[in-house]
């Protein structure tokens, strides 16, 4: 008998299953990364289709296509799926693919838990989407799940609570894995302050997830017991406090906003230096700025609730603490611009998306500053200005960074170059479409159009029509993205190991496509 074989077995080098079983049982970080990314892609088209239905209904005042209750179901599910089914899984996909490659680690620290963390997600996704077919339809109280609406709905509300629990469990398992991998599996010589910024941003994101997920789980459990077991945590009829739900929810959800954007900062911080052919300007300040944003995210939650009534001192505290976040964010934007300054820049698709991210995310940041001012926010609360603000942050911020990351690492993952022409077409249609959809919403909000309504006053018609045209341009341009991804997986020009001239880091030292097992022995970083 050969002990070599035995030793190999112990380290997981044995032949892996093929077909469906490969994907169900895989513990390989690259497979799981691909699963996360495909899941996010499918969910993007689901939630995107809901957005197109919403915009189609809003093309004209009056009710055209659907019942108002179904409209509310669509807005709620669009929000929930985009956040928990698209952006978060996509970033987890990047983390799974890239963190071990960037650190010189053979895999994630807990590969089996990694498999579980992924496979919980489709279960939750099916529960959310399946609730459309339940009596009373899907949840319609908004993704924020506020009582009293949320304690009055049908059975789909219970199912949504269960889905949120499952997604939360998946996030916690993923976060523990990422923290352990980053802190404990770095290659010898790769100190924390030498780590790629993408790993730093994910490390901080994982901390945020671990700190906030029990709060969300507790909050939705209290909703569940209020609904089914006669408790009155948030039920005013029984002496509960519905406003307290908002405090608890936003204590989770404001850090969640940064969970949705910090990995985006990491991706852009990898892409810009590559195509500017310069090291990232102010690396240490980027790390400290990311940590500062994360810490501040815990003390700003009530800026979402200026209209519920709070003492002036409270309003001032939350107003100023919110404005303070602009400082580390400004540091980041300055550093990205300074990295590009006098760089030998080229404008491949990932760089185009990264530049669009910097410009458009900054617009979202500025409208956030406007909303941070309590007296202004009281006017703009629950108007389309808020919708414009968070879509500039989450579409041109989070989603564009995901596109940048996909175009940047796709050649490394597949071994093939994508079509630059199709990539650039996708970029320009997305940027133009996205601005046509969301920029007029600033004007709609300033003019007083409330969010989450299927019908509106006549004076809002033109801006709504422009937004709907933009939505269809933006929505259908994502089919180009799908084509690019599928074509690149299938074939294309061979990608070199170091795909981009200016690329630095351990992931570019392995062949393209990255072999199934990489860094079986840790490389030494000098």
């Amino acid at each position: 008998m050969s002990d070599a074989a035995h030793a190999h077995d112990e380290h997981g080098h044995h032949a892996h299953p093929t077909g469906l079983m490969r994907w169900l049982t895989t513990t390989n970080h690259k497979d799981i990364g691909s699963l996360y990314l495909f899941f996010a892609l499918i969910m993007l088209f689901m939630a995107g289709s809901m957005a197109l239905l919403i915009r189609a209904e809003l093309f004209k005042p009056g009710l055209q296509l659907m019942h108002p209750d179904f409209f509310n179901q669509l807005t709620t599910m669009h929000g929930l799926i985009m956040i928990f089914g698209v952006i978060m899984p996509a970033f987890s996909g990047f983390a799974n693919w890239q963190v071990p490659l960037m650190l010189g680690a053979p895999d994630m620290a807990f590969p089996r838990m990694n498999n579980w963390a992924f496979w919980l997600l489709p279960v939750a996704g099916v529960m959310l989407l399946g609730s459309f077919w339940l009596p009373g339809g899907a949840v319609a109280g908004g993704w924020t799940m506020y009582p009293p609406l949320f304690i009055q709905g049908g059975v789909s509300y219970d199912l949504t609570i269960l889905a949120v629990h499952i997604m939360g469990l998946s996030s916690i398992m993923g976060s523990i894995n990422i923290i352990t991998t980053i802190l404990n599996m770095r290659a010898p010589g790769l100190t924390l302050m030498k780590m790629p910024l993408f790993c730093w941003t994910w490390l901080i994101t994982a901390y945020l997830l671990i700190a906030t997920m029990p709060v969300l789980a507790g909050a939705v459990t209290m909703l569940l017991t209020d609904r089914n077991f006669g408790t009155h945590f948030f039920n005013a009829a029984g002496g509960g406090d519905p406003v307290m739900f908002q405090h608890i929810f936003w204590f989770f959800a404001h850090p969640e906003v940064y969970i949705l954007i910090l990995p985006a900062f990491g991706i852009v911080s990898q892409v810009i230096p590559t195509f500017a052919r310069k090291p990232l300007f102010g690396y240490a300040s980027m790390v400290y700025a990311t940590a500062s944003i994360a810490i501040l995210s815990f003390i700003v939650w009530a800026h979402h609730m200026f209209t519920v009534g709070m003492p002036v001192a409270g309003q001032l505290f939350f107003m100023f603490s919110t404005m303070l976040i602009a400082v580390p964010t400004g540091v980041k934007v300055f550093n990205w611009v300074a990295t590009m300054w006098k760089g030998s820049m080229t404008f491949e698709t990932p760089m185009l998306f990264a530049i669009a991210f910097v410009c458009l995310f900054t617009i979202g940041g500025f409208s956030g500053l406007v909303l941070a001012m309590a007296p202004v926010d009281i006017q703009l609360q629950d108007t389309y200005y808020v919708v414009a603000h968070f879509h500039y942050v989450l579409v041109s911020g989070a989603l564009f960074s995901i596109f940048a990351g996909i175009y940047y690492w796709l050649p490394k993952w597949t071994g093939h170059m994508y079509s630059e022409t199709l990539g650039k077409t996708h970029f320009w249609l997305s940027v133009i479409g996205m601005n046509i959809v969301f920029f007029p919403m600033h004007f709609l909000g300033l003019a007083g159009m409330p969010r989450r309504i299927p019908d509106y006053a006549l004076q809002f018609t033109e801006f709504n029509q422009i937004a709907t045209v933009g939505a269809f341009i933006f929505g259908f341009s994502q089919l180009i993205f799908l084509t690019v991804v599928l074509k690149t997986i299938k074939g294309g020009a061979k990608a070199s190991d170091r795909v981009w001239e200016g690329a630095e880091g351990l992931e570019w030292t392995v062949p393209s496509p990255a072999p199934y097992h990489t860094f079986e022995t840790a490389p030494v970083v000098k």
């Binding site: 008998m1 050969s2 002990d3 070599a4 030793a7 190999h8 112990e10 380290h11 620290a109 807990f110 916690i172 398992m173 523990i176 923290i179 352990t180 802190l183 404990n184 599996m185 770095r186 290659a187 010898p188 790769l190 901390y207 671990i210 700190a211 906030t212 997920m213 029990p214 709060v215 789980a217 507790g218 909050a219 459990t221 209290m222 017991t225 945590f233 307290m244 608890i248 204590f251 079986e520 022995t521 840790a522 490389p523 030494v524």
Partner: protein, 161 residues
């Protein structure tokens, strides 16, 4: 006693040769404890705050999460114990290894032991094996390719002495 560090570099010359290697872990046990308690305190602190306000159902979820963290911490601690030792003393070559709860050892006659080091490409993806009587045992699994090549040279020399 000769010792060789985990990079395969020899530290001295005498009759007994011992080589010991461990898997790469960036965190010391103390640092692991700091990571665990930082996360646990933040979670528990937040949950306790809400519990004091009457919203106690957050507390059990924080507890479950800390439990999961504790399990992860324990697994890391177990993995810390993994090692591989090669001892050449007199006529004997003794291989010992432990990974998780599994431990084993093998003895070979020094005169019959052979060292092979095969690389998939020059200097990359190398497999170092000690073989005797038709059985081979892979060693140096926690080492880099460079360190494996250095260890192979050292072992060949020591076996000849």
């Amino acid at each position: 006693m000769d010792k060789v560090d985990s990079n395969g570099c020899e530290e001295g010359v005498s009759a007994t040769f011992v080589f010991r290697s461990r898997p790469n872990q960036s965190l010391t046990r103390g640092e692991q404890r700091v990571v665990f308690w930082t996360l646990a305190m933040v979670c528990l602190g937040t949950a306790s705050g809400f519990a004091l306000l009457g919203y106690w159902p957050i507390l059990p979820f924080a507890g479950l999460e800390i439990g999961l963290l504790a399990w992860a911490h324990e697994v890391l601690r177990t993995r810390e114990g993994a090692y591989e030792t090669i001892t050449i003393e007199g006529d004997k070559v003794v291989l010992e290894w432990q990974a998780g709860t599994r431990a084993d050892h093998r003895e070979m006659n020094r005169r019959w032991a052979r060292v092979t080091c095969e690389c998939a490409s020059p200097g990359r993806n190398c497999h170092l094996r000690l073989s005797s009587h038709g059985r081979d045992t892979e060693v140096g699994q926690y080492l880099s390719d460079e360190a494996r090549l250095r260890l192979a040279a050292t072992l060949r020399r020591k076996l000849r002495e």
